[in-house]
């Protein structure tokens, strides 16, 4: 059953590989093939998710090799849910209206394949490869309209991201040099035996290099300069995908790395400080923004900073809060970018625009309120859980973290309230409908998702806590991935393999 997990990556891959020749044979089939594959992929992901929810997480190996030698996937609640959510998000933002010979559907499928790989893989370099798949697909998506200035945005993103990837690869090399493995589980075992290994200067600088490298996509300071330019220039669908989905993928990698390898090494402090700086700078810049799109871009930076802070708390409450806030952001940000597509004018010129389409505007208000954290919307529960997590964190329960979170929430409230009051000021002379026709459906569905999340909060929160517990469960992760004969201690592993040695090897 779980061996089928590889199909989550392979299905969109095969579809993407064959889409171009298929289009030449039969354009009609080629048009529906993409969405059909995504739908079947989501269904498979949901089947596997139910399986895991019942029987607990499972490991899937490849090539018939046990873990330190080969690559393995680890299927857990968070990863599998992310696969399903990625499929649904891509389907909602699917490029239905592009010309039939556009390569955009292929890029969407490849993005999905990469996202599935990132969500499931338990191997450091494999994660890097899948992350590059997602990154290169996103350069293509930003550049897709092919007009000069979007090409510039794409180049900007590419330069930042490729430099980040090179630094991340350097970090991976350092980790391999230290721990002698690339499997997260095996490295975790090595780290558990030698506590000083990853808290050394090399260990921590490897983490920092990877943090900078992935921080490009996770919009973390100091690698997030591309954000306002790219989100300002690219199409709303693509901005929504980058801010909503791709950033979460980068954060998931950091989360796994931090809690499998770097527990108690001080790396969580690095992530915490990075997150706090990102949060503060993002919200302050959003406060000064004069246009909706710019405001959304900076608020996205702030939200991701908040997520990094949540994930740096080593307790269930903190990580669960991060997961809830991530879900909230994933549902809301793409929709808000779709709104911002038509409300392009400076905010001061948007007076009274809300009255032109009361229903759509009401949904907009609902989403903004959830982003701010107004009860009983999911954003509130996320921030509430986060404060709880900060206060009970083992070493990081510091008042100033709480104060900073509250302060930035206040800043967020001020600038969003300013926007809302302007939108609902006296009736406008020239009403601009916020949404173009083809954007209605995705926004409505995302809004429905938000409302469903609010109503089912009790049910969802138990799942989130379970997911957070699985992410923090180091020994379970290791037990599932590393075969029993090699588990304890490392020396045993060495003697085992010496048995299979025919000739050669290191003296």
């Amino acid at each position: 059953m779980t061996q089928q997990a590889i199909l989550l990556v392979l299905l969109p891959l095969i579809a993407a590989f064959t889409l171009t020749p298929l289009r030449r044979c039969n354009p009609v089939i080629a048009r529906v093939a993409g969405p059909a594959v995504v739908v079947s992929q989501v269904m498979l992901a949901i089947t596997l998710l139910l399986h895991i929810a019942q029987l607990g997480p499972e490991a899937v190996g490849f090539g018939g090799f046990s873990i330190p030698l080969g690559i393995a996937f680890h299927l857990d609640l968070v990863g599998m849910s992310l696969v399903a959510l990625a499929g649904v998000t891509l389907l909602l933002l699917w490029p239905w209206t592009v010309e039939s010979d556009s390569a955009e559907p292929s890029l969407y499928l490849l993005l999905l394949a990469g996202a599935s790989g990132i969500a499931l893989s338990a191997d450091l370099f494999n994660l890097y490869v899948f992350f590059e798949v997602v990154a290169v697909a996103s350069y293509g998506l930003v550049a897709a309209p092919n007009s000069g200035i979007q090409l510039y945005a794409s180049i900007r993103l590419l330069l930042f991201s490729a430099a980040g990837s090179a630094l991340a690869l350097l970090g991976i090399g350092l980790i391999y040099n230290l721990g002698g493995s690339l499997s997260l589980a095996h490295l975790g075992q090595v780290a558990a035996q030698d506590a000083t290994l990853f808290s050394s200067v090399e260990g921590l600088s490897a983490f920092t290099l990877i943090l900078i490298g992935l921080g490009v996509k996770a919009e973390l300071f100091p690698a997030n300069h591309w954000v306002p330019e790219v989100y300002g220039l690219s199409r709303p669908r693509v901005s929504g995908l980058l801010a909503g989905l791709v950033s979460k993928l980068a954060l998931l990698i950091l989360l796994r790395l931090l809690w499998q390898l770097y527990t108690g090494t001080g790396a969580e402090v690095i992530l915490l400080v990075t997150g706090l700086v990102t949060l503060l700078l993002g919200e302050l810049a959003a406060f000064r923004a004069t246009r909706l799109r710019e405001m959304l871009a900076f608020s996205s930076i702030g939200q991701l900073g908040l997520l990094a802070v949540a994930f740096s708390m080593g307790n269930e409450a903190g990580v669960a809060a991060g997961l809830l806030l991530a879900l909230n952001h994933l549902l809301i940000k793409p929709a808000l970018f779709l709104y911002a597509h038509n409300w392009r004018a400076p905010i001061t010129a948007l007076g009274g625009q809300a009255w032109s389409t009361p229903l759509a505007s009401a949904l907009f208000v609902l989403m903004v309120l959830s982003l701010m954290g107004i009860p009983p919307l999911p954003g509130f529960w996320g921030k509430y859980l986060l404060l709880k997590g900060v206060l009970t964190a083992p070493t990081l329960g510091m008042g100033w973290v709480v104060a900073l979170i509250l302060f930035t929430t206040l800043v967020e409230m001020i600038y969003f309230m300013r926007l809302l009051t302007r939108l609902y000021a006296e009736k406008s002379v020239q009403p601009i409908p916020p949404l173009s026709r083809r954007h209605y459906a995705p926004v409505a569905l995302l809004g429905a998702g938000l409302i469903a999340l609010t109503l089912g909060m009790g049910h969802v929160s138990t799942h989130l806590e379970q997911g957070a517990a699985q992410l923090l469960d180091r020994s379970g992760y290791r037990d599932r991935l590393i075969p029993a004969s090699l588990r304890h201690p490392v020396n045993h592993f060495q003697t085992h393999l010496q048995g299979t040695a025919r000739q050669g090897g290191h003296p």
Binding site: A143, L158, A166, I172, G504
Partner: protein
């Protein structure tokens, strides 16, 4: 020459390559020069990875006449670099394609000028 000194030599050389590349990438105002910096940076990372797998006096991990050498270098970093090199050339190809198209539509590859145009395009769109 001791192995320790040799490995330090590689570390320093790869750090220098990465630094030169990063500096070029960040500081260049001409797009193609920035991309050249990117390739240098990747070269530095590759050098570092190879030196991670290197063992003093070790042979390549290839059997000759069905016999593996007694002492071999680590094959894993080599596999990683093969992957990284191909990824690098793919990204470079895409970047050059973008640059070419950008030049066709904007007539320049000077980054400061492009940035100014991007900013004014944003506000023009807003006014419309």
């Amino acid at each position: 020459m001791t192995p320790d000194l040799l490995s330090h030599l590689f570390s320093i050389a790869s750090a220098a390559l990465v630094a030169i590349g990063l500096f070029m990438l960040v500081r260049s105002h001409y797009l193609l020069r920035a991309l050249l910096g990117l390739t240098l940076m990747e070269a530095g990372v590759n050098l570092f990875l190879v030196s991670v797998g290197y063992r003093e006096g070790a042979a390549p991990p290839i059997a000759i006449d069905g016999q593996l050498p007694a002492v071999m270098v680590d094959p894993i970093p080599q596999a990683l670099i093969l992957t990284a090199i191909v990824i690098g050339v793919g990204v470079l190809g895409l970047a050059l394609a973008l640059a070419l198209r950008l030049h066709q539509s904007e007539g320049t590859l000077w980054l400061p000028r492009l940035r100014r145009r991007a900013q004014s395009a944003c506000s023009k769109e807003d006014a419309a």
